[in-house]
């Protein structure tokens, strides 16, 4: 369980997070949504321990600040928004980096892990390719495989492990978006915790158990997708008209932008 209580973060004199309270439980996929600059990534970075903050964060009952880098790395892995790689590693070597700090894996032999992780992100057979020769989406999935091997078992020694994902599907085609979101769900259903910063509200609605909507550094709404993804909350938070609908088949809301009320004049109007 992750609990944040009254988290505030200032960056360059600007209050990026203002008394944010947030919680996420293991066994569920928690999504953080909100417009650009609303503080989603900052909230995730605060949870990873790389951002100074005021307030209190409890990680499975212990204060976040008490964890050493290695202890924390054994409990959670982080997929950043954009990955960089300084030298020409092969895909296999990149994924193996996830094991390089010596985090506990709960297994004696980890040689097969990288290939298993690559298969799960749909990159089976890519082991020998150089990372910089991959497409953007393939790189993002290779980085995800690297993150997965770090916390391969969703539960280790009775503790759930956490997957922090910052826009995990932003560079992916629709098929791979579904595949990666399903992977995150599977991780949660196996007992791990997943916190994902998301832009795509429909994917959020399909896959998340819990949604936190941020706007201008504050929590605007928090709850199940049905509770949070409403016409009013979304339209006011994103500053544009949005209509939600609930098809009978899934029972989950889907969101459609309303073009007719756009304020810009029609093309050709004088």
């Amino acid at each position: 369980m992750i609990h944040c209580h009254d988290i505030s973060v200032r960056l360059g004199g600007r209050k990026v997070l203002d008394r944010v309270s947030f919680s996420a439980r293991a066994g569920a996929l928690t999504a953080i949504v909100g417009p650009n600059g609303s503080g989603k990534t900052t909230l995730l970075r605060t949870l990873t321990g790389e951002q100074h903050y005021a307030g209190e964060i409890l990680f499975d009952g212990s204060h976040l600040k008490r964890f050493s880098p290695l202890d924390l790395a054994e409990r959670r892995a982080v997929l950043p928004q954009s990955g960089s790689l300084a030298f020409p590693f092969t895909v296999l070597e990149l994924v193996r980096l996830g094991l390089s700090a010596g985090v506990a894996t709960g297994r004696a032999d980890t040689t097969a892990l990288p290939s298993q992780a690559l298969a799960r992100v749909g990159l089976a057979g890519y082991e020998g390719r150089l990372v910089q020769e991959l497409s953007g989406g393939e790189r993002q999935r290779a980085q995800l495989a690297r993150v997965l091997v770090q916390i391969w078992e969703p539960i280790l020694d009775g503790h759930p492990r956490w997957l922090f994902l910052d826009e995990p599907v932003s560079a992916l085609d629709i098929g791979h978006q579904l595949q990666i979101m399903q992977l995150a769900r599977d991780y949660a259903e196996a007992g791990g915790g997943v916190i994902a910063v998301m832009h795509d509200l429909n994917l959020t609605s399909m896959f998340a158990d819990h949604v936190t909507l941020l706007g201008e550094g504050r929590v605007r709404a928090s709850g199940t997708p049905e509770e949070v993804l409403t016409d009013h909350a979304l339209s006011s938070c994103y500053g544009c008209p949005l209509r939600t609908n609930t098809p009978p088949a899934s029972g989950r809301p889907w969101i459609l932008p309303q073009a007719s009320t756009l304020t810009s004049p029609p093309v050709g109007a004088s």
């Binding site: 990873t48 321990g49 790389e50 050493s68 880098p69 290695l70 202890d71 924390l72 790395a73 054994e74 892995a77 982080v78 950043p80 990955g83 960089s84 790689l85 300084a86 030298f87 020409p88 590693f89 092969t90 895909v91 296999l92 070597e93 980096l97 996830g98 390089s100 700090a101 010596g102 985090v103 290939s115 749909g122 990159l123 089976a124 057979g125 890519y126 082991e127 020998g128 390719r129 150089l130 990372v131 910089q132 790189r139 690297r146 770090q150 098929g175 791979h176 579904l178 595949q179 399903q182």
Partner: protein, 363 residues
Amino acid sequence: MVELTQERSHSVQIGAGDRRAKAARLRVVLIVALILAMLLGLGWGAAGDTDVPRALAAGLGLSEASLRDMTIVWDIRMPRVLTATLVGAALAVSGAVMQGLFRNPLADPGLVGVSAGAGFGAVAAIVLGGLLPAALAALAGPYLVPFAAFLGGWASTLILYRIATRGGQTSVATMLLAGIALGALTGALTGFIVYKADDNQLRDLTFWGMGSVAGATWAKIMVAGPIILAALLCAPFLARSLDALALGEPVARHMGIDTQRMKRIAIVAVAASVGASVAITGGIGFVGIVVPHLLRLLQGPEHRNLLPNAALLGAVVLLLADMVSRIAVAPAELPIGIVTACLGGPFFLWILLKNRALLEGDR
């Protein structure tokens, strides 16, 4: 629906993408090459008809040899071969560590002013050492010059890192420009001290500034050797952290690396090995940049394999360069720094142009 998006399944060859076996094979080749190069260095010299095997055996108490042969092999050639081996290993490993630390394949102690900083420390110690109180000078003894070189190298590396790196990202341009500025500044300070030096000191400085292993003695090895060996022994403990750092500093921290601590250790290790090397041989360029590059092309960038193989290849390269420096203008000798620059410069350009994309990595 999700099944449809699965990639076509390739048949995965065992070990695909894994260059560790390649690195292990290369290590064996390099060990053999190092032994051969050392033997060649011992056996080849201006003095002909020396019974080298016999003198070697005699030194180990297994045989007897003439005093002349003993002197040539044990007092002239052996220190020289050991110095080239140690310094070659030190320069190549510190180049590889610096490149890992700066996340940049162009970081080299010679190119970015660390050697110049170490040189300034050494020159200052040679010229100003006499100003120290006698007791202190006696205490520092032969360690004064290497220690001053270490301090100079350490300060340069630290300043460079602070200037060139922001939030764990180093820009090539900033690093090279900062290195040039730093090198020019320390060069000017060095020049000022040289200007103030007396004739005897000038002779010391001239020999030293050319970059040469010809002045190798057991005394110098006893001073610099332990420092270099200690720094080299540090390197393997940095390998995992340097690998993680390739993903950027925040990601390395996510993976459990204490990046502050590893950066401090890396900077001290680089400064110690470059400082000790510069103190005994002067500035020898390009080993630190060519050797790690070549190895990354041959066996991949994983530091656990890169660092030990860089030590071996660096030693081999410097031993061979010393051989060239001895025969190119025989009976005179070329300073080895000229040889490494002549061989290294064009070679480096060639790798760079041929593998531009590969070397620039993904950033």
